[in-house]
Amino acid sequence: MSVATATEATIGRGPVSAAKRETAYPGWFLLPAAVIYSVLFLLPTISSLYFSLTRWTLFDATFIGFDNFAQFFREPFLIKGLVNTVIYAVVTSGMKVVLGMALALLLTSRIIARGYLRSVVFFPVLVSTIGVGITFTVLMHPTNGMINEGLALLGVKGPGWLTNPNLALFSVALVDVWKGVGLATVIYIAGLVAIPRDYYEAARIDGATPWQNFWFVTLPLSRPATATVITLSFIGGLRTFDLIWAMTKGGPGFSSDTIASVIYKQYQAGFFGLSTAGNVVLFILIAILVVPLTMLLNRKRGHE
């Protein structure tokens, strides 16, 4: 980035030189990271804008305008993937916010076995997504799965979690929440313990009920944590691939496809241009959903 200044500074080291003096914060410190990031991330991202407009074999690309995108919004299974992506992101992030907040409230209260509970809730975050996916695929088996066997003991006939096309996406989302709620919880815990005790004491003197305490103190003051949880899990939800791939591969049919799984399927099928167009669609989707969302979440934070 500033190779020129850096070299200049190295040369100008003599005692009475008029050259610019060396800085303790040389610009070339940015260089190695900048090269790796630009070549392997920025360059492909930018070139994807072009390749998404082509029929592409990796060896040669034929410009076909917006055909790939048109196809994306024409084919029912591709539209399905688009809709599923949004549903999946909304469901998982919504559940993580609500459950994360609830668990955080529970785990910051004076409850026994707090350390054990925190560990147990958090540990799935660190486990391999593929491992979790495989395990739950087995557990959710409609007849042999432990979940339905357990429900049968209670006299309930469990559904075909991953075999029912209307349910498959939500079942995967449920596993995603199971695996990810620990992260939301620890973020909320960090946010909750940072709220000064004074507010609760002031509220108590004002005669607030526990519910008012939550509604007027805890909720507004944990807003930064909420913003982080929503942003993180929403972006994660939109990009999700590995869990879906490990559990349903988008099936049954296309009922649980998301954009990320569509991208992989088109790539496998050799439709590189279409696959890249899927990437651009996902990129645009994230941009138009997440940017306004973060702006909304970070609004009115000046007074904190």
Binding site: L40, S48, A190, N279
Partner: protein, 275 residues
């Protein structure tokens, strides 16, 4: 009063958490102790005898000790890319936190973009092929560095902003050159956040499935996650082996969790409070 309520809600929480969070792991463990016949029932039952060792040997020796190769590959990718991440991200974080330059805004934008934008896979493959890095561990390492830099930089920059600038100045007066200031004064002080970085990034990279799936095709350079994924179809009649494999790749994160729980939580919640 208060005490009894907290004991009751605590017991309720323990029971609930046992069913929701503990049983799936117990299931994995029990399955890996069973023989093939019993495992095929896929129920929550006590193993008829101790078959863990047999299962382990079977898993590890399958397909020409593929699991061993995969463990070596995954460890190599994790160790090298985390090392690179630490040094490069700390350098960027340092300059970014200390120097008010006109390109800071651009860099910050690129960092946020890197956190949000999904990588464009096929163009990346095309590029890696051009660089003769496709399907190689080197390529995979550089990809992991590129994709995970933004998060590490954010962690480092926030931490460096809390180190007083007078410390750099004292070092400059003492005669330190830029590299001395960074490597002898600043970098040692970053140790807490470096540990956080190591732990969080190692877990993430070790568990990564999507990127090796795209960029490391074929079996010669497979990682543990890829191996597990491939075993899923291969072992669909030997659930005992499948779950032994899951157990095996859960051990590294478990060890990390036992020793560095605090740093992981610190790293993952960094910025949550201040936004």
């Amino acid at each position: 009063m208060k005490n009894r309520a907290s004991v009751i809600s605590g017991i309720a929480a323990i029971v609930f958490s046992f069913f929701v969070f503990v049983i799936p792991f117990l299931f994995i463990i029990l399955m890996s102790f069973k023989d093939r016949q019993q495992a095929s029932l896929r129920d929550f039952s006590w193993p008829n005898g101790f078959h863990l060792w047999d299962n382990l040997v079977a898993v590890v020796s399958t397909r020409n000790w593929m699991m061993v190769t995969a463990f070596i590959n995954s460890s190599l990718i994790t160790v090298v890319s985390v090392t690179l991440l630490i040094v490069l991200a700390a350098m960027v974080g340092f300059v970014l936190a200390r120097r008010k330059a006109k390109w800071n805004g651009t860099i910050e934008f690129l960092i946020l973009a890197g956190l949000m934008i999904p990588p464009a896979v096929v163009p990346t493959i095309w590029l890696l092929q051009g660089l003769k890095l496709f399907g190689t561990l080197h390529g995979m390492i550089l990809i992991q560095v590129a994709y995970n830099l933004p998060f590490s930089i954010i962690l480092y920059r926030a931490f460096i902003a809390t180190i007083p600038r007078e410390l750099d100045e004292a070092a400059i007066i003492d005669g330190a050159r830029p590299l001395d200031v960074f490597f002898r004064v600043i970098l040692p002080l970053l140790w807490p956040v470096t540990v956080t970085n190591i732990v969080v990034q190692s877990v993430g990279i070790f568990n990564d499935f999507t990127n090796p799936l795209y960029y490391l095709p074929g079996s010669s350079n497979a990682t543990v996650q890829l191996t597990l994924y491939n075993f899923q179809s291969q072992f669909n009649t030997s659930y005992n082996l499948l779950f032994t494999n899951i157990l095996l790749i859960t051990i590294p994160p478990l060890i990390v969790f036992l020793f560095f729980n605090r740093q992981i939580v610190a790293g993952m919640t960094a910025g949550a409070v201040k936004g």
